[in-house]
Symmetry: D2
Amino acid sequence: MTRSPQQFASDNYAGVCPEAWSAMAMANEGSATAYGDDAWTEKAANSFRSLFERDCEVFFVFNGTAANSLALAALCQSFHSVICTASAHVETDECGAPEFFSNGSKLLTAPASESKLTPELIKALATSRSDIHFPKPSAVTITQPTETGIVYSCEEIQSIAAQCRELGLKLHMDGSRFAHACASLAVTPAELSWKAGVDVLCFGGTKNGMAVGEAVIFFDKALAADFDYRCKQAGQLASKMRFLSAPWVGLLESGAWLRNAQHGNACATRLAEGVKSVPGIELLFRVEANSVFLQAAKPILDRLRERGWRFYTFIGGGARFMFAWDADPQRVDQLIADIHEVARF
Amino acid sequence: MTRSPQQFASDNYAGVCPEAWSAMAMANEGSATAYGDDAWTEKAANSFRSLFERDCEVFFVFNGTAANSLALAALCQSFHSVICTASAHVETDECGAPEFFSNGSKLLTAPASESKLTPELIKALATSRSDIHFPKPSAVTITQPTETGIVYSCEEIQSIAAQCRELGLKLHMDGSRFAHACASLAVTPAELSWKAGVDVLCFGGTKNGMAVGEAVIFFDKALAADFDYRCKQAGQLASKMRFLSAPWVGLLESGAWLRNAQHGNACATRLAEGVKSVPGIELLFRVEANSVFLQAAKPILDRLRERGWRFYTFIGGGARFMFAWDADPQRVDQLIADIHEVARF
Amino acid sequence: MTRSPQQFASDNYAGVCPEAWSAMAMANEGSATAYGDDAWTEKAANSFRSLFERDCEVFFVFNGTAANSLALAALCQSFHSVICTASAHVETDECGAPEFFSNGSKLLTAPASESKLTPELIKALATSRSDIHFPKPSAVTITQPTETGIVYSCEEIQSIAAQCRELGLKLHMDGSRFAHACASLAVTPAELSWKAGVDVLCFGGTKNGMAVGEAVIFFDKALAADFDYRCKQAGQLASKMRFLSAPWVGLLESGAWLRNAQHGNACATRLAEGVKSVPGIELLFRVEANSVFLQAAKPILDRLRERGWRFYTFIGGGARFMFAWDADPQRVDQLIADIHEVARF
Amino acid sequence: MTRSPQQFASDNYAGVCPEAWSAMAMANEGSATAYGDDAWTEKAANSFRSLFERDCEVFFVFNGTAANSLALAALCQSFHSVICTASAHVETDECGAPEFFSNGSKLLTAPASESKLTPELIKALATSRSDIHFPKPSAVTITQPTETGIVYSCEEIQSIAAQCRELGLKLHMDGSRFAHACASLAVTPAELSWKAGVDVLCFGGTKNGMAVGEAVIFFDKALAADFDYRCKQAGQLASKMRFLSAPWVGLLESGAWLRNAQHGNACATRLAEGVKSVPGIELLFRVEANSVFLQAAKPILDRLRERGWRFYTFIGGGARFMFAWDADPQRVDQLIADIHEVARF
């Protein structure tokens, strides 16, 4: 098929990075036991344990919808609730998956600036009701980086986790771009997760260069009780598991997990820097990870589309650009140049 | 990692066949729109429409558990029931997935010889109760080939479908090895599915040479209403969909889907033929697809294990062997030779 | 047990009205077939058909949580959504029941003044998203009267229903106090329901003078397909059904259903009229049914409590009073007098 | 309505016994706080604590379907399973309610003689599979008396409970006719429940003389965590709770709970004794509680029907008769006489 010029509408548009591909290719040699009882899966789980400097429970599932929903379902009963921001991906873009997997757990949403939760917002939501006519809060989920590309600092997470413990809530992190947060803050995965108080992390593989697959990591192993059954029942146990796990070995052992994220972040910064002086173009949010949200008048965005660029737009005129491991800096520069031109009229 | 000798305990032990791999590799060039809005996915769906000689609705999901459970959920409400055999995979090996995806649809199981349903068994189960204290039958599911490796003929399916229509039931086919049934009967996919009266088919990709992925094919398009939402909510929508769909293009356009199945079937026949004269060894079921169930005394099976062979055993002393696209005939011959030797004592 | 003075914190505090009680007592004579196959249940269903001047499907369930949740589940699949106001009882006081019964249908909430939905709000919510990452709207639910005691006019419902039809949405009415709305507007049940375009109505019995029980009425009989199975599976089929149905006969045939509601409404008006001139006391909402929301400074409400009055308070200092069929006008006058006094300081 | 002659097809045909009715009437005086925060509900819970000689958690729900399903859901996750007999009411007559309330827990059924589970049957089922492709057993449910009217002795329950503890399973008792078992064995409720190792008991009110209502009793209070939320979400929290709880006070304080059961049992024995010598009539099961299963040729049963008797029939020609608190001994004698006559041909 003919290749069209690269687009930055989503970091899901990228393919598989060489390190992940090469591990898949190696895993494809010969036969292997099914359902995760194979050497690649063991190796991948151990790679995560090394990366996180901790003996944790690691599960490999197909996608982020399932990873987050299964993890939250493990923290809740159907009559419990989960605290998140109003712009959380689980609330706005999972088609009710958290409610489906949990059989009814309600999401309690906080109106959060920059999509970030705070201890205050959590406390306000968690204590707003205490009668049985309202689902009892059981967990908090934060997205790292947020849906607007902002990163929680270790300190922010620590204070959220402290609030959670005080309220008896478990802390889940939707880390579909967790690597980008690590890259952004230049901290270790351990520092940004369990050392800061996270109980369960969903570590995104797809946006980090894999074809398919996410890892669900329970730092509190007791919370992972029977989670393998939960995955199986929910259609998230791969028979040829090695093809979900081997790419992780490729990513983690080579360091590509971090390099890929650094590259995406750098391209976002490149775009932000390149357009910051353009009249009529504003950054909607600080650029801290691999996404850039540009505010511009509709005619400007229309002209950008006419030049062939694809992007999602948001209420108020924002255009989102996201950069994956494969983002071509020259193509980013083309985008910058085009933005300069279309804004000129 | 070191490669161990090939085993035939499961056809899930095989890797990705060259045709599927090569399509994945091609799909990996450049970027593509996410969530199925890409050229590979369109091409794969059209390949299925050509293969089945019919305009049908095609969905790509991650695994067989999800494919079957989602399809059945689309045919049922929670208070309905699904008729199957007592040995159906959905009943015995899905950890309650059909009940989970449907929020409670009960499986009504028929004690079926050779794991085959018949119009009589269906009618008996469907009409055994008609009060509201028992879930109302809404669908029938048959596995083709059955869990024991037996194949339903087109005529058998036609008579089952006629019974279903008479009773107002929809007919679902669990075709995790559908290709093997086509190969076994030398009939077209159309003849063995919608032409015989099947409403929904789950066509297995994993056991046919893919890394991951199954296709859910609705011949009655009305039954597919909003099925895309159902997949999304249930965590079965791949963001980088092309990696689920491109391998189908590779399999279908090259004819590998059929060749792979023919090879698996041939190896099963090779084993069956090779051991049929061995005293103390009996075939538990006719060999019509890619599996062989051998009945043998425990010491014989123990000795076989001592020689390094892995296989599942069943109540009564059965040992199952299954052959994938990659089964090495020489290795099959080794197995035959070893069976001859261990049975000799 | 000693009787405490009557309270107006909730219309659930009332007992069973004489007409309902007497019907229960009559139903208690002799034995009757179980599970609704009895003369009282048939009579009650027919009484509803007469009342609504239409052949409709009528089901008797235990409470409002179940009535509304089951009705909505019949209008939705798990990946669909239901449009309601942010203050709808199904959203704020059912502990996630709609999500539970439907296995995940999300409630989409509109910020509605006076808790009323409008065609514009419905259209805005229903058309805000059309991608599969967001649950597809399938139904609208309105509460009549609203949670703030305001009544939708027939014309308002008609315009909502017209919008629903245009968008392909079903219209459900949570009528836990439907009788009070009929009384308030002096219109017939038919005019206020199916003639205005309502597809399914949950008609409240408990707040109308019964011990337990609500009626789910499908004006579009096709929507009621297998609803009896749905009720049974969800634990909402009474074995001794006559005790749920006979009280309806008592209420409907005697006209008590309307008189009870008129009385409650009149007491609310009595209170509102009695306190409207009191300085420091404001009505939060127009009084159109049987509830009164009073805005007052905290010290005033505290003093009211000290005098023994019980009531719920809301954000901003509102106190809610609700009047049932048994509200004693003299006791209402005591409340009025006490409000005058506590407001005086 | 005209009263037809009493039938013994079901003990659900009976109305409310005087003691329960009188308590309801008393509860109907004056107003009371809603949702169980009333004096009658407290009193009823305490009556149960006295009756069971133990501080336990008591919840009042609407019917047996919900009581059993909610209790089992509290003992299971969706990917767990529940062990019961093939003839258990939860398996055969709840329309998939246990699967619905638990979001998919599978019932594993043992083929049990006289509908009784044994430690051996439990162990065989619980240990038959231990892989994640099959739902992990989490609870056992026994019906006391069984669906065939047989009673588990305290010793039998103790041995079942011991087996459960060994296997890490919780023990639930479906006691829709628990009172009849106590009456049959002349043991205390404590002896027949927690002292024998039962963790959760559903104590039937409807079949014991109430209009509506069952009690769920957790002897292990930890298992009742958030069960009030579970009831609310599942539509099982009565707003006018006193009408569910007061009848229990009437039944328990007066001793009617036991007398009613004794009467039902005595009538069953009366019938069994009265027909035991009739040629062509056989007892299908020992008569130990309030039901009698008669085996007779079809013409005999047809003639019995022609004489106006109603009863359920079972595969193999069994006719079931059940006796409630209101069974008229003279009417039982009529039945006996009629059986003698119809069997004479």
